[in-house]
Amino acid sequence: MPTSRLHSVILDKVMEEASHTKSFSFREEFPVRPGQFIMVWIPGVEEVPMALSQLGPVKAITAKNVGSSTEALHKFKEGDRIGVRGPYGNSFDLSQEHYLVAAGGTGIASVIAASEALAEAGKKVVTVFGAKTKEDLILLERSRKYGEVFIATDDGSVGYHGVVSDLALKLMEDRRFDGVLACGPEKMLQTLEGICRQRDVEIQVSMERFMRCGIGLCGSCSLDHYLVCRDGPIFKGEQLVGLRDFGHYRRDRAGRRVPM
């Protein structure tokens, strides 16, 4: 049976990453590329999209507890079963040599597999990671294995005192990158897209929208004429310029276009 059909996997390990964030790993072999996501079903609760933060024979998701489904997921332990289907969506184009990876909060989960793939291919990766405060830093040790890591916190409790896009800009003023890979709050992505456009650096961002089907049919994840689950979640900066929705509107569960 193809893994795109809903099936269950047994949780191999549950790892506490930060106060509200845990990683859940499971063993399953399927072809997958950095940037792709899966739909995760918490049996008896709901199904939500999650990036694969670890590829290889042991896969993992890294989920922040933000609401009913993720809260239920956080109660799951090693040996429990969750439902999964995927992988879905497109992936990062990693054909350049020297990348800046910019992540805000749990956004790191969507880009860390790309960092790993780049490091494995002998390419150069610098990560800028932004969080609200020291306690929210996640996947740091792993990120450091793939290259230099710079940290920004909103409260200055560690690293640069300020937002990750400012820190990214400072780095880009000092060094030349062939490309930027980014995931995080949409305002951050919008700022980074502007910075990269000005400096003529290619940027790819991982986008989020409310998702029901994950396979391009229900239309829940509309971003202008794009479907984030199928045309994305990875978009090049040039695809996002000029969209009415990018940075401004999302669609709610009923499909209403609402300001962000």
Binding site: L6, R212, L227, R257
Partner: protein, 301 residues
Amino acid sequence: MVEISTTVGRLKLQNPTMLASGILGDSGDSLLRVARSGAGAVVTKSIGREPREGNPSPSLVELEHGLLNGIGLANPGIDNYRAEVEVALQGDVPVIGSVFAEDVEFYGPLARTMEVYGVQALELNLSCPHAEGLEEIAGDADLISQVTAEVKSAVKVPVFVKLSPNVRDIALLAQAAEEAGGDGIIAINTVKAMSILPEVAKPVLGQTMGGLSGPAIKPVGVRCVYQIYEAVDIPLVGVGGVANGLDAVEYIMAGARAVQIGSGIHYRGLEVFEAVCREIEAFMEEHGYRRLEEMVGIAHE
């Protein structure tokens, strides 16, 4: 050269493929994209009076021979839908507005508002197997007749009635729609179904039951269209499991003048509309049909 343009009553179509309701129909931008991918017409998501968040997920999963959905008519509500129709109308194919309501009396005003937004025809969804209220209307000839008559007196554009296969005698219901003034019948909506994931011993859909679509339901759809064709004179549109030209030809030979495609997008992408048209043409050339019309209902002869 063969001719695949067709008509469904007063509605003229450049080709016989339409987007089925509920697939990509939330947003005007998506409808426009489907129109530009080659669909002969697009049908909106079924829109109701109020915004509706739909059922808990999972609400759409792939099964062995089809898709199971329990979206539950999530929709932004009629008041929020004007802008979407306006965008969809920028494509140069007809936009058909689909509406549903929990009560017979609400269909007329909803349909009228859709007409004001500019749609070229209406489709009445009387048949959703996973939304409360609609299940009662779906199987009741009197209610179908009341809804159709209400809407007919509220609007001037053609009114198509979409029927559910989850009923005892679909032909009888089609007759009720015809007698009440309906301008065409769309058949079928999804087939009521469910699936269980054995390892977790739970139904897969958040709403337990939902509707099956895709290849698995094509024989059911073809049977329904065949039966309805014998019972009414108004034009029919076939829907259910169309993913290639031969699927469409089956429906046409059973009596349909056009087909709708929903799940087919999953199997072949948005190119499915173009591909189905080219495959219908190839079939017609090979078998000596010049106009699509010549094949309509031919299986009854």
